[in-house]
Every structure is written in C-alpha cells, then in structure tokens.
Symmetry: C3
Subunit: 160 residues, 3 copies
C-alpha cells in the first residue's frame, strides 16, 4: 500500500465510481484486467462524491488552462479510484504504459499537452520516474460525453 | 462456432470486407494478429453487401440517436466479419479487452456513450458478461472518413 | 541494421528528438518499452533539425492533400527516430501492431485515410508486408498540439 500511503501524505482522496446523470447506461468495465495488463476505460474529472466535477465545457473557452490542468489531475484520481477498486492495492500497478489524453478543445486551442500534464505529473509523483513513465498522446476532441473538459484512457502493467 | 450459432439465432449476418469508394487505398490490415492478441482497425457501419451504411453524417444533426445506436451495432457486425475472416471461428476470441468508440459529433452533441452502447450491447449479448466485458471510451470526433457517423477500433484476446 | 540500411538507400534521415516551443513541458516517454512491446507516444511531423515541420494547420484548409500525406510520412520518420534512440537498432521492431493516425481536419474534410497512407506506406516499404502489416485507424481531430496537421501514436512488437 505504498501508493495509497503517498496519496494520504499528499492529502488526496480517491473518488468512488462515477455518478452519472439518470438514465445513463454504461455497459462496460472501468478497468478490464487480463493477464498482466489492465485496460483502463476513458475516465472523467470527478468530485469527492463521484459526480462530474465542474467546470465542464471546452478548454480555451469555458475552462481555463489552470482549470484544465486541475481537471486532468482529478481525472487521474478517478482512474486511480477505479484501479484501486479493481486491484485492491495500487502497488499492483507495476508500470504505466500508455496514457491517451483527450481535451475537449475550443477552436484554436492547441495547448493539449499542458492540460494532460495534470495527469502525468500526478502519476510520476506517485510512481516515480521508472514505474511511472508512460507513452502519451494529448489531443483535441470535438466533443466529450457530458461535456467534460478532459477524458483519459490508459493501459498499465500489473502484478498478479 | 458458438458465437456464429448465436448470431444465426439472432438473425444477424456478418458483412463482407468493406467496399470503399473507387481510388481509395487502405494499405493496412483490418485485423492484426500477434501471439494471443488481435488488434482491430477502425471499422465503419456497413450494409449486408459491404458498402458504407446510410445515413452518414454527424450524430445530433444528420443522424439521430436511434440511428447512431444502430450504426454502432452495424459497426460491431463489421468488426465481427473481419475477425471471422481472420480467425476462422469467432469462439477464438476469448476476451474483449478494449473498445474505442468514435462518434462523428455535431457541435453540442455529448451523448456519445448512448451511441456506442449499440456496439457494447451486441458484444455482451454474444459473449456474455465475462468474455464480453471490455474497457471502453466513447468520444466525439471532428470528422471521420467517408463521413461515417461511427468508427470503432478494438483489441481482443485470442486463443491460438 | 537492415532497416537503417534501407533508410539510407532511400536517402532518408531520421530527425532528432522533437524541439518544442520554449516553456513546453512534455513529462512522458516518447517510447515506453515493456517486455516485448513498445508503446509509441503521439508524434508530430518534424524537420531534419527536430523542429515542427511546416505547413501547420488543418488539412483541407491550410494543408493540402499532398502536404498532409507528406506530413504523415515525416511523422513516420519522427517515430522511427524515437524508436532508434530507444532500441539502438530498428531491426528489433519485429512487427508493427497498431497505428492510430490523427488528422487535424478542416470542417468537411473526410479523406483521413489518404493522409495517413503517408505513414503506412513508409512502414510497409521498410518492413515489408509481413512485419510491416498493422491495424490502423485514421480519424479527424478538432485540434492538435502546436497546430500540427498530423499526429500518430503506435504499438509495436520488439525483440529483446
């Protein structure tokens, strides 16, 4: 539980599973484990209660650079919450592999990497430069579900 | 051939390889197998003859929610057609891992999950809740090839 | 060094790591190796000096079809540069698996496959039809970092 201890030292709490608007049906697994891989579904920034965090909307218009960075950090916490519930112990994540960072982008907004750094920075802070290293893309989407500003999917290596 | 039997019971027929507009060159593999993994290229909704299904265009403007759901279901059938031709028997797909669902989205359309459910529902109906479970993202694209409303790429585990 | 020899015969030179605008922070790995897989981050078209190649902007408005194809080919060279630096010898890439081709698309531009062919064609020219075969998606993004016209991420199999 080293990662959990580090989260505690940083004063960070993992949110519960996402609370979505009524009638929303999400018939998939937030984390899909197979062998030594966990495939992580697209996650949203969440509040401590699990609901979608505000502000929502397009980065570069409704959401500032600072707010977008914070949204990506909240998205990392949401991903870690799902991994924790699935794996029991975040130390079982032995290596981050792929991070696909999607930014709901206003026309002309081209600083997607600065937003998704909010995700990468937290992963590296918690796992360090070896296990935390990851391949990444940070790109601009036309729209995202529920108008969220950031969505991240990922793939990690796990110990059995 | 259990999956094929289920498809038959549901009255579903898998389309042939996609028939694309003249002069279109697609120099890649619809399914790439390596070890116990099959990587599935982005697929489109197809007719029983293999051509791109109508309606095309943006969901939330040219394509309704119901039509978009149906397009995602047709995209699943197109993916299964490619897997069948590559693997010979769909029972060789032992686990669904990752589904990346892309919706050609009109400005302001944010119900991408409801569209990609057309893909997930069919996979779960055919493979059941264990083998059929999958990580998923459902996101809004600015444009898609040939103006298709939905495109899905995937990764599955296969038996040799 | 067979692939390197082929590059030389084609008169192609791999660029150095990307030179990004001042204050840009990219805290991730361009290539993440684990076991027999290398995960390749989203790459941009680069000049021989490593800077972002011109023209930038949206394909179908600022960037022509021919320029977009060439941008995808330059993106392949950038990916190969990163793989070369990480692996030492490009022959260690024993199979291409997944290519995710993102095109910064003007409204109404739907020829993404014709653009990403610039990437696929070079891979197939260098690795041949077996090792070079890959699953692929070619899709239209709303925005890309630094306003680049093309970005590609990938996954390859490697020999240890």
């Amino acid at each position: 539980m080293q990662i959990e201890a580090r989260l505690k030292r940083l004063g960070l709490v993992l949110p519960p599973a996402i609370v979505v608007p009524p009638k929303t049906r999400l018939p998939f697994s937030f984390v899909r484990v197979r062998g030594n891989r966990a495939y992580v579904s697209g996650h949203a920034p969440q509040t401590a209660e699990g609901t979608i965090a505000v502000p929502v909307g397009k980065v570069g218009r409704d959401v500032s650079l600072t707010q977008g960075y914070q949204a990506a950090r909240l998205t990392a916490l949401a991903v870690l919450g799902s991994l924790q519930r699935e794996l029991g112990d975040l130390d079982r994540v032995t290596a981050w592999l792929r991070v696909f960072g999607m930014v709901n982008s206003a026309p002309g907004f081209v600083q997607q990497p600065a937003i998704i750094n909010g995700f990468s920075d937290l992963i590296l802070e918690l796992w360090g430069p070896d296990a935390g290293a990851h391949a990444r893309s940070a790109v601009g989407m036309a729209e995202l579900p529920f108008n969220i500003p950031v969505e991240v999917e990922a793939e990690v290596e796990i110990a059995k």
